[in-house]
């Protein structure tokens, strides 16, 4: 069918003078003169231009926008490394309780014991899952957790009179790892992977120096492989006095199976928005608590939530703390959701998550193996990578084309072109929450796409055709940046 009325007009194009979506009260106090109270140079010269719309139109606008989305609730979303699992609704219910949403961060602790108890208990749950001694809930996101952790490591060395400023990172790492190091003033050295996709221990031995502060590893890594040498890696680092950092992006594969602390990890971050089912919200908010071994605990951000003499309190008395990395105490609303999730699952449920996540990934990998190249053999952990190299070489169909074609089938594409060491890479993470039927359907569609690459490659090049727009001109977007609407003056 011909697409008519394609555009949803921008808010600014819908504006009708004099309209408003709210009905605010009259001023019920004697009015003071603004111009007498505030110097004219500090007053707005002209009223701020904002759209003028009745509530009905605001509602229609954002509702229509929401219909131009793919989401976990509506679509299979096997986006590797992002753990797009189902977001249980009881989490949202809990986070929306007015008792939680109405808390002011500077209230007397006596008035906010419920929220503090939740934070304290979440701390304990995350400490146990990590097998590490103390958790800080402050960091606002995964990358923020990485940064906080690197600051903690740095403070630890300074306290020992050392100024180590070099961090080792495997070539499979997320881009946030090197970026977090740079933000913390650390220099990055890349450690190669073996042909099997694991950390090359010889290269590690060659690159570690007395200036190495830490190595950041993701385990299982971004290829979906568990590095069985993790203890050895920890030993190599510890022998030189360096710290082992775990990027916890992939905790969904191992929680309840193995504890990072038991593998020699000194510090790690969690992504509550991946592993613990808090929704991704089109990019955020997430939360990136960090867990540390005992020797690093004094350096965690302050204040720490604590339980003393039957009362939850803020412990500001942490003289070695790195200080604050975020205003107030962290992403509390995200913590409520994660806490609710962990309490719903309990000890057995947590293990069941990683069991099923790994089962689903291996099942899907097996089903795709006949049609796509698997650069690393199964079994995998919670995710695996396939390469569309064959489709590219034989038929000119790239990973990007396959991704766009999946959209036409109502499936959100996997992560593409990452990790960088696999060409035409597609990184697939089904998660534990998808049904067998969904997995089978995805496999069947991927099979059909592989066949169509042979029989009708144009289909892939033209995709997507079911979306409100066809392929977007990103080159134009970058060459002629248009980042805001301009009112006609």
């Amino acid at each position: 069918m011909e697409k008519i009325d394609h555009d949803i007009k921008l808010l600014f194009e819908q504006s009708v003078e004099g309209q408003s979506g709210v009905n605010l009260p009259q001023c019920d106090v004697p009015e003071a003169s603004v111009s007498e109270a505030i110097p004219s140079a500090l007053l707005a010269a002209t009223p701020v231009r904002l759209p003028e719309m009745c509530e009905r139109e605001v509602t229609r606008h954002f509702t229509r926008l929401s219909e131009r989305m793919m989401s976990v609730d509506a679509n299979f979303y096997p986006l590797g490394s992002c753990t797009m699992k189902y977001n249980p609704k009881i989490n949202e219910w809990a986070a929306d309780l007015p008792g939680f949403t109405a808390g002011h961060p500077y209230q007397d602790v006596q008035d906010i014991q419920g929220s503090m108890e939740l934070m304290y208990r979440l701390r304990q749950l995350l400490e146990e899952i990590a097998g590490l001694s103390e958790v800080s809930l402050h960091p606002a996101a995964g990358a923020h957790g990485e940064l906080t952790a690197m600051m903690v490591v740095r403070a630890y060395f300074r306290d020992r009179g050392e100024n180590r400023d070099e961090v080792l990172i495997p070539d499979t790492a997320h881009g946030t790892n090197p970026a977090s190091c740079a933000l913390c003033g650390e220099r990055v050295t890349i450690v190669k992977s073996t042909p099997e996709g694991l950390v090359d221990l010889d290269d590690l031995a060659a690159k570690i120096t007395d200036n190495t502060a830490a190595m950041m590893i993701t385990n299982p890594n971004t290829l979906g492989l568990f590095d069985k040498s993790i203890k050895k890696i920890a030993d190599i680092l510890h022998q030189r006095g360096a710290q082992l950092y775990l990027d916890g992006a992939n905790m969904n594969a191992i929680m309840g199976q193995v504890r990072p602390g038991d593998c020699g990890v000194d510090v790690m971050h969690y992504n509550l928005h991946k592993t613990f089912s808090t929704p991704h919200g089109c990019g955020g908010p997430g939360a990136g608590p960090i867990a540390v071994a005992e020797h690093l605990a004094p350096f965690l951000p302050a204040p720490q939530v604590d339980f003393v003499d039957g009362k939850y309190v803020w412990d500001f008395n942490r003289p070695k703390s790195i200080g604050k990395v975020r205003t107030f105490y962290g992403q509390f609303g995200v913590m409520v959701r994660a806490y609710t999730y962990i309490r719903a699952l309990g000890h057995s449920g947590i293990k069941n998550v990683s069991d099923k996540a790994v089962l689903a990934a291996n099942y899907l990998g097996k089903k795709l193996e006949p049609f796509y190249t698997l650069p690393y053999p199964l079994p995998c952990m919670h995710e695996f990578v396939i390469s569309a190299e064959k489709q590219k070489d034989d038929h000119g169909i790239r990973a990007l084309d396959i991704a766009k074609q999946l959209i036409d089938y109502g499936i959100h594409p996997p992560t593409i072109y990452f990790p960088l060491i696999v060409s035409e890479c597609m990184m697939i993470e089904p998660t534990e929450t998808e049904t067998l039927e969904t997995l089978d359907r995805f496999a069947a569609i991927m099979q059909r796409i592989a066949e169509q690459a042979r029989t009708n490659p144009e289909l892939a090049h033209q995709a997507p055709v079911t979306t409100p727009v066809s392929r977007v001109d990103e080159v134009k977007a970058a060459r002629e940046p248009n980042l805001r609407w301009r009112y006609k003056e």
């Binding site: 072109y417 080159v475 970058a478 060459r479």
Partner: protein
């Protein structure tokens, strides 16, 4: 397509063409095609001192960035202003209109150490 014979090359895909007492610098067509559509060129200011082996700028596509290296020491005397509004010139005409900077070399003998057109072609 053979690369122009009137200039020298680096393995990092830059070309260096003598022009009077100046040297014109750009990136090769091969590099431009690898990068796909170039969206932005970060150029040094006129007057900047650059040196062999060091990066003096950057070319960007939508999903990648690549540093531009110099093979010679010298001072930037002109930059290709056209690229600010039309970075795609490098894609369409890397060896001519897509030039990036003009340099006054401090030691012209450095040019001799760079790759010949033949060597560069063998390299790619």
């Amino acid at each position: 397509m053979p690369v122009p014979q009137d200039r020298k090359y680096l393995k990092t895909h830059e070309w260096f063409k003598p022009e009077g007492d100046l040297v014109v610098v750009g990136i090769t067509d091969h590099a431009a095609q690898e990068l796909t559509d170039i969206t932005f060129v970060q150029m040094p200011k006129v007057g900047t001192k650059i040196s062999a082996g060091q990066s003096f700028g950057e070319v960007e596509s939508v999903k990648a960035t690549s540093e531009i290296y110099s093979g010679i020491d010298g001072e930037v005397v002109e930059i290709n202003e056209e690229l600010s509004s039309n970075p795609g010139l490098i894609n369409s005409d890397a060896f001519n209109a897509g030039w990036i900077i003009k340099v006054r070399p401090s030691d012209t003998s450095q040019l001799e150490k760079l790759l010949s057109p033949g060597d560069y072609e063998n390299f790619i």
